[in-house]
Amino acid sequence: MPKNDLRSADREMFEQLAALEAGTTQHEATRAALIERHLPLVIFMARKFADRGEPLDDLIQVGTIGLIKAIDRFEIARGFEFSTFATPTIVGEIKRHFRDKTWAIRVPRRLQELGAAVNKANVELTQKLVRSPTTKEIAKHLGVTVDDVAEALEANSAYSTISLDTSSDDAPTIGDSVGSLDGALEGVEYRESLKPLLEKLDDREKRILQLRFFDNLSQSQIATDLGISQMHVSRILNKVLIHLREGLLEN
C-alpha cells in the first residue's frame, strides 16, 4: 500500500474511533485493529533496545502499552502523523521499563541518570582511546568527580544483578563452542563436576567463558567479537561464575 493510502487509512480509522462511543464493541474492535496495525512500529522500537539485558518479548509488551496510550490520546485534528505521535510514547514506555523494573535495588534517579551517562561515556571513550577508559577519564569527560563515577558504577552493578536473571533467548547462536571448551578444560581439576554445570549454560555463555578464561581475551575484545556491549559481557561472566561456583560447592 502506498504511504499516502496508509496514512489515509489511519486517518479514517481514527475518525471512526473518535465517532464511536467508548466501551462499545465497535469501539473496542476499531481500537484493537489500530493496535494490531501499529505493532510493527513497537517491534521495531523494541529491537533497538534488545541488547540491554531484557528479553525482547518484555520490551514489546511494554512498548505495546505505550502504543495503546498513544492511540487513546491521539487527536487527529492536531494534524500529526500517528507514527510521529506514537514513537516517543512507545520509546518512553520502554525506557521507563528499564528505569523502574530492572533495578534490583531502588537506585535514586540521579544515580540512574549518572549511571547511564557513565555507560555512554564508557562507550565513547573506549572508541576514542581504543582501550577501556579509567574512572578519571570518565569523570573528566562528564565534568563530575571520580567519587561520582565510582558511585554510578556501583549503582550500575545493582542494575546488572537483576539483568542476570534474563535468559538470552534472543542471542545470536554461536555454534561449535562446546567441543573446544571441553578441550580447554583438559587438566582442570574437578572437570567431571564442572561438565554437567557447563552443559546447563547456553552456547553464548560457554563461548564467553572460554574466550575470557581460557583464551584470555579481554571483555571488550569479546564484546566486539560477539557484537554485544562490554557491560553485557561482564554481566554474563558474573552470572556464569556464580552458577559454576554454587554448583561446584554443592558437589
Partner: protein, 123 residues
Amino acid sequence: MALIELAVPASPDYVGLIRSAAAHIAAHADLTLEAIDDLRLAVDEAFAVLIAHQPDTGRVAVSFHIHADSLQIEMTGPAGSPKPDRNSFAWTVLTALVHEVKTQTSPDGLVTLLLTAKVVASA
C-alpha cells in the same frame, strides 16, 4: 602508596562489601572500567575460595595496597581455609582476571591470596 584494611566475618553475606570496597578503591587507583569489572569478579572468586567449606566461622582480612602503577589486594582466609590448587577452575579464573595471583601460607597456616591489578598508563 596508600593502605586500606578491612576484616569481615567469613560468610558470603560480606562478599558484597569487599567487592564494593574493591571497586571503589580501584576507581580511585585509576584502573580502567574493564579492569574494575574484572577485579569485582576476581574478589568474588577469591572470597569464595577462602571461605569454601567454612561454616561461617572466623574472618577474612583484606588489605588494599594502592601503588602508583598497581593495586594489590591481599585476602587472608580464616584458619583452615584451603590453599587453592593451580589446576583448579578458580585459579584459572583468577589468573585471567588480574595480572598476577600469588598464594602465601603464614607460619600458623593461614592462607593468603594476593591479587595484583596493574594501572594502565593513561595518556
